[in-house]
């Protein structure tokens, strides 16, 4: 698959990007400008490939409208202000399932679940722009979830989030996984990748440099460096202590106790 922005900037150079994302929770990491956000926009049809094709859950994205794609893929933007426009949190979060013409009870169920999972209960009547950046981010995430899509794409969900919010996000992606959804998390937060995402894709200058289990993603430091990444803090500590393949706190503790 290839793509160029108007003006000719080619995002995925010859021979183009070939990538299969499995089910479960996958992290998409790489330097600023690696092509991560572009890739997510191609997944939901906001952008169309200039060559090749993108298939999501058996659907060829280019043959379907963006609105129809929204039934399958829930997407939360990097900057919540690009996404939010309703006057209350409730209206914002229910917008997706409403325009998808879900049944009244489907809307109610999806919205209630999304609000709870995102810690927005009790804030239903607040204007999204009266919330701080991190809470607006949660409104954007809840909006992506309320239609109960099979695939969820979260662009930089940890941005501006405090520690309790990151913990909430961790349990959210786990819950989505348990419900059989596929989750793609675009992030620069390697600690979060290690803790919450069992698979990782490293993108650098429009090319896939690694795709596989997160536990082995940080093994080759030259790849990590080229992609502008740094290993998770626990990986650095584990290396200093001579423990191998630790990407989460639980990994370090069990390796250290042995």
């Amino acid at each position: 698959m290839r793509f160029a922005y108007p003006g000719g900037v080619e995002v995925y150079p010859e021979p183009g990007l070939t990538l299969t994302l499995g089910s479960g929770v996958t992290a998409l990491v790489g330097e600023n400008g690696a092509g991560k956000t572009t890739l997510t926009k191609l997944l939901i049809g906001l952008l169309r490939p200039s060559a090749g094709s993108v298939t999501v859950a058996g659907l060829e994205v280019a043959k379907i409208t963006v609105a129809a794609m929204a039934r399958t893929v829930g997407y939360s933007f990097q900057n919540p202000d690009d996404q939010l426009f309703e006057r209350t949190v409730q209206a914002e979060v229910s917008f997706g399932p409403r325009v998808l013409r879900r049944s009244a009870e489907g809307i109610e169920r999806g919205v209630a679940w999304a609000l709870r999972a995102c810690g927005l209960e009790g804030k239903e009547d607040v204007h999204p722009h009266d919330l701080g950046l991190s809470e607006r981010k949660w409104v954007a995430i809840a909006s992506a979830l309320a239609g109960e899509p099979a695939v969820v794409v979260l662009d930089e969900p940890t941005l501006g989030q405090d520690y309790p919010s990151r913990e909430r996000l961790r349990s959210l992606v786990r819950e989505l996984d348990d419900r059989g959804r596929s989750v793609l998390v675009v992030t620069h937060d390697m600690d979060f990748v290690g803790e919450a995402c069992p698979t990782a894709v490293v993108l650098s200058h429009g090319r896939v440099r690694y795709s596989g289990p997160t536990s082995k993603a940080f093994a080759d430091h030259s790849v990590i460096q080229e992609a502008g990444l740094e290993p998770p803090h626990v990986d650095s500590l584990a290396r200093m202590l001579g423990l191998s393949e630790c990407v989460s706190e639980a990994d370090v503790l069990s390796a250290w106790r042995r």
Binding site: G30, E31, N32, G33, T37, Q78, N79, D81, G132, L133, S134, E135, E156, L159, G160, Q161, D162, Y163, P164, S165, H188, M190, D191, Q225, G228, L229, E230, H233, V234, S236, L237, M240, L241, G242, E249, V252, L253, W256, R257
Partner: protein, 297 residues
């Protein structure tokens, strides 16, 4: 502080070089509520930051961190209105006495969302970087020199001819910082300065900040990543619900139970606690390596 505490008027400020000469930012019992807000965003805040310090500010959502920056810049209350009690003294001047424009000659605030920072009045990145000094009447030659220096420092020289609105989030954040540096501020207020950058870009910007710190510039930096905060800042202020709950070296601050419960812990502190090691727990990688290594040996 002199007899005019709370009054903030008249010419009875302490003479230069005496009481306040070594402070960059002072909050005296400051409470502030935004216009029409039911509750205060910060309450009874007292804080004194000396010239040349690098102070990290952290805390959960709605702790009042961004409000602290807006107060120091004077945007609260000059732009946002609202109710201010107590005194905010920045570079020896009461915030009530100076407009934000006057203040911006010496103090730079990097907004949480870099998009907010861009003037919208310039069509090239380099012109945008020079916008501040131009508005302050700096000569054209001097502006050009400062623009070139600031762009090189934050690594956006190659973007000089681009339109600011065509930049990515990370590039925009670098541009916003370059615009501040071109003003040659004495005090930098940074609200999550690297939130949009990749790890390598983050490291590069922190190197720039370390250089500015070494040259004597005072830095107040809001940061959620506690590990980063502990590596960089000799002093950390932890805030919760508009109040300061701890203020001191990171090792002290993050070994307090109230901070661990309400703000969180750096990963190394958490690991040491989980592993059953005895406190004080390490907050930085090198200390954690030493502590865990000793037990392995």
């Amino acid at each position: 502080m002199g007899p005019d505490r709370g009054g903030a008027r008249g010419d009875r400020r302490p003479p230069r070089g005496v009481a306040l000469s070594s402070t960059s930012l002072v909050f005296e019992n400051v409470s502030y509520a935004y216009e029409e807000a039911a509750r205060e965003a910060v309450s009874d805040l007292s804080l004194s930051i000396a010239v040349g310090e690098w102070v990290g500010v952290t805390g959960p959502t709605n702790a009042g961190k961004s409000t602290l920056c807006l107060l120091a810049m004077g945007l609260a209350p000059h732009f946002f209105g609202g109710r201010l009690k107590g005194r905010v003294v920045v570079l020896e001047k009461d915030s009530r006495e100076l407009s934000v424009i006057q203040r911006s000659a010496e103090v730079g605030l990097l907004f949480q969302n870099p998009f907010t920072q861009i003037s919208g009045a310039r069509e090239r990145v380099d012109d945008e970087v020079g916008f501040g000094p131009e508005c302050h009447g700096v000569s054209r030659l001097e502006v050009a020199a400062r623009v070139e220096e600031a762009m090189a420092l934050v690594g956006i020289s190659q973007l000089a001819a681009r339109h600011p609105m065509d930049l990515s989030g990370g590039q925009l954040q670098r541009l916003a910082l370059a615009g501040l540096l071109a003003m040659r501020p004495k005090l930098l207020l940074l609200d999550e300065p690297t939130s949009q950058l990749d790890p390598a870009g983050t490291a590069a910007i922190f190197d720039v900040l370390a250089g500015l710190h070494a040259s004597g510039i005072t830095i107040v930096m809001v940061e959620h990543r506690l590990e980063t905060l502990c590596e960089l800042c000799p002093r950390v202020v932890a805030m919760v619900a508009g109040r300061i709950i701890a203020d001191g070296p990171p090792d002290d601050v993050f070994n307090r139970e109230a901070v661990q419960l309400r703000v969180g812990s750096p990963v190394f502190t958490r690991l040491a606690r989980e592993a059953g090691l005895s406190p004080p727990w390490p907050v930085r990688l090198r200390d954690a390596t030493a502590v865990f290594g000793r037990r392995l040996a």
